[in-house]
Symmetry: C2
Subunit: 135 residues, 2 copies
DNA sequence: CTACAGTCTGTAGTGACTACAGGGTCAAGA
DNA sequence: TCTTGACCCTGTAGTCACTACAGACTGTAG
């Protein structure tokens, strides 16, 4: 393997990704299949490392693999309008906002439930009661 | 089928659950297997309906099926201390709080990213740039 | 009697990995 | 040269909480 080539293990360490996950990204078509060495090892270059870093950063920001696929396709087409990128990001942000709203009202309900618990026996438990259907 | 017996479809409508989901809960051991009619249809009673309502309400509140299994076991044991119930609920609330915190900092990052987008061409796109690794 | 709604079992798909099993490859030290 | 051990390969199955189907059977209204 030449000086610029990276094994899958190097790529994994550099990007904080598990080896299995990298192979999974390849199978999912997110990361192009690299060249192979004589011993059939994957041989990556800088471009692969950059692409994987992109994927991981986008995953950290909660983008789905489908969205990342789209973002990668757009970022490969440097002349295209950035509006599509903007749309994906905004759609994702809206989703995140929805989740925050949902979780906040969830937390309020849990707070109410837990506040009422006198911690006696289950028969009098307000938590169980508030989960049970009124007859 | 007698007057008090319910088909799986009735149960589904009453609780807003899909028929497949009810069967899945049975297979998962959350809902006890009901009696069968001559034609091999599941025949539910009020107790099943109550139990399924409990499960659905707990699911709406985001409890995992494992947690619900535990809550159901506790609620069946009316004399036991309510502390275990309280612990499950608090653990779940803590998890929800963690998620809210994570999503909020995520949203901040997305806001920053999106604010910078001048919506020109992809080559100048700040969103793509902030996803790309610095070389 | 026929149409059709409802139910049955069993299997496979979802998303984004993760965890093996059972092998092969490679580099360093004895 | 041999061996050890780290690394890599493929392929499959597991996770969670469902959901969707295929292909068959049952029940009911007209």
């Amino acid at each position: 393997m030449n000086a610029h080539a990276l094994t899958i293990g190097h790529l994994a360490r550099e990007t904080g990704t598990k080896v299995e996950t990298i192979r999974f990204y390849e199978k999912s078509g997110l990361l192009p299949a690299p060249a192979r060495t004589e011993g059939n090892y994957r041989s990556y270059d800088r471009a692969h490392l950059n692409r994987l870093s992109f994927i991981r950063r986008a995953r950290d920001l909660g983008f789905s693999l489908d969205q990342i696929r789209d973002l990668l396709a757009l970022s490969d087409d440097r002349g295209q309008s950035c509006a599509a990128v903007d749309a994906i990001a905004k759609e994702h942000r809206a989703e995140v906002e929805r989740k925050i709203t949902d979780l906040r009202s969830l937390k309020k309900e849990l707070d109410r439930m837990i506040d009422q618990c006198g911690c006696g026996v289950v028969a009098d438990c307000r938590i169980i009661e508030s989960l049970s259907p009124r007859q």
